[in-house]
């Protein structure tokens, strides 16, 4: 399978840069697989897993907290608010943050608080889900 260049960028750093064979991202419409020579494509990404098949065939999973994917002929780029490799996820911390988010959802005073708390909860759940995907592999 032919490889194509992928870049994952966050405001804090360039998280990943290299040749990959396949990329699977979860868009608002469902999972989308991207191979080399994909047509030009842009999609919004909610919090979700990102699966990458590296040039040497190994597979890696990362947890993405919101962003967008942009496929152009030269390269594919993922703009992410935050992203972590599955093996780097601190499960205890994610669990604590899940509990904290659940408390906030219950105690939210208004629509806005609720919205923020739900987003935090989604991020925490996504981390836990991605981390367990990694363990099963």
């Amino acid at each position: 399978m032919s490889a194509f260049p992928l870049q994952i960028i966050t405001p804090e750093k360039i998280f990943f840069e290299g040749e990959v064979q396949r990329l699977i991202v979860r868009t608002t419409e469902g999972d989308v697989g991207i191979l080399a020579k994909h047509e030009k494509y842009v999609a919004a990404l909610p919090s979700g897993p990102v699966k990458i098949t590296m040039a040497d065939g190994t597979e890696r999973i990362a947890a993405l907290s919101g962003g967008a994917v942009k496929v152009s002929p030269e390269r594919t780029a993922i703009l992410a608010n935050a992203v972590e490799w599955a093996e780097d996820i601190d499960v205890d911390w994610a669990k604590r943050s899940e509990e904290d988010a659940r408390r906030r959802v219950e105690n939210s005073q208004n629509q806005q608080d609720l919205q923020f708390a739900e987003m935090k909860l989604q991020r925490a759940l996504n981390r836990l889900r991605v981390s367990s995907m990694q363990d099963k592999k």
């Binding site: 419409e29 842009v42 967008a68």
Partner: protein, 288 residues
């Protein structure tokens, strides 16, 4: 009389020396913080460029593109995000940005627009604590530790208010570090999203999911967060640069004062020795 004069000078030298120690230390701390802040602000550039490029492409390529975030609403308030430092002792750093923001507030209010404020940095929240404007949020002590989540949190507040129809425009007031020696207070229009290239004749082959507008609108919180993150980091770097210069000047001035006082001290010492000698000699003469 001479002895007490000498003592007073000595005391002043001591006090200036201890002040200088503090300014020297602050200068060093600011230099190292500046280095870190500069790295951080440079790292944010590729992300932001790509984000902005993507948004421009969406807005220009999609036929009949239309988004609430690119057009100026007739009514609704203006939100000004004013960023300053958490501490003083940085020369005119805080004042410059307040002067710019205050002038803009007056201008907008004369046009009959309500002005809502959001402040970043302790100095900014103190400055606007007595203002009659509604304050949407204050974010103190975020400069050094800001993460994308903090920025996103701030952005979501703003987007939320905008989506409810309360806001017509958003502007950010920050300090741009032109070089380690010059910082400049700046004003930046954020919403309506400015300078997006438009060439509606070109039909794009790009596929947008779910739709160009949805992609564009979902990028808005990130765009806002990106701008806030970059400007907060830039402002923080400017604060450190300004403080480093202010403290360098203060140390130089202290050194000058010490030199000056040492000269005076030595003169006074010499004068007292001369006087003593004269007294002894004239005493001896009188006896002889």
């Amino acid at each position: 009389m001479a002895a007490s004069n000498m003592k007073a000078i000595k005391r002043r030298i001591k006090s200036v020396e201890s002040t200088m120690q503090i300014t020297k230390a602050m200068e060093l701390v600011s230099s190292s913080k500046l280095r870190k802040a500069k790295e951080r602000s440079e790292q944010a550039v590729p992300f932001f460029n790509l984000l902005y490029q993507t948004m421009s492409e969406v807005a220009s390529e999609a036929v009949g593109f239309h988004s609430a975030y690119t057009e100026l609403r007739e009514d609704g308030a203006a939100l000004l995000v004013v960023m300053a430092g958490d501490r003083g002792l940085a020369g005119g750093f805080n004042l410059n940005v307040f002067r710019l923001a205050d002038a803009r507030i007056r201008e907008l209010e004369q046009q009959g627009r309500e002005v809502i404020l959001m402040t970043v940095g302790k100095k900014a929240s103190e400055h606007y604590a007595k203002a009659t404007n509604r304050v949407l949020g204050t974010f103190d002590n975020v400069g050094e530790t800001i993460t994308t989540y903090t920025a996103l949190h701030m952005a979501q507040h703003i987007v939320h208010l905008f989506d409810q129809g309360h806001l017509a425009m958003v502007e950010v007031f920050f300090t741009n570090m032109v070089s380690p020696l010059t910082q400049e207070a700046r004003q930046m229009q954020v919403i309506p999203v400015p300078n997006l290239e438009r060439n509606p004749g070109v039909q794009s082959l790009t596929e947008y999911e779910p739709s160009p507008e949805a992609v564009f609108n979902s990028l808005i919180p990130q765009y806002l967060a990106g701008i806030l993150y970059c400007t907060v980091v830039d402002t923080y770097a400017s604060e450190q640069a300004a403080r480093r210069i202010a403290m360098e000047n203060a140390s130089d001035n202290a050194q000058e004062m010490i030199d000056d006082l040492s000269l005076k001290y030595n003169r006074a010492r010499q004068a007292s020795i001369t006087q003593e000698l004269t007294e002894i000699v004239s005493g001896a003469n009188a006896q002889g």
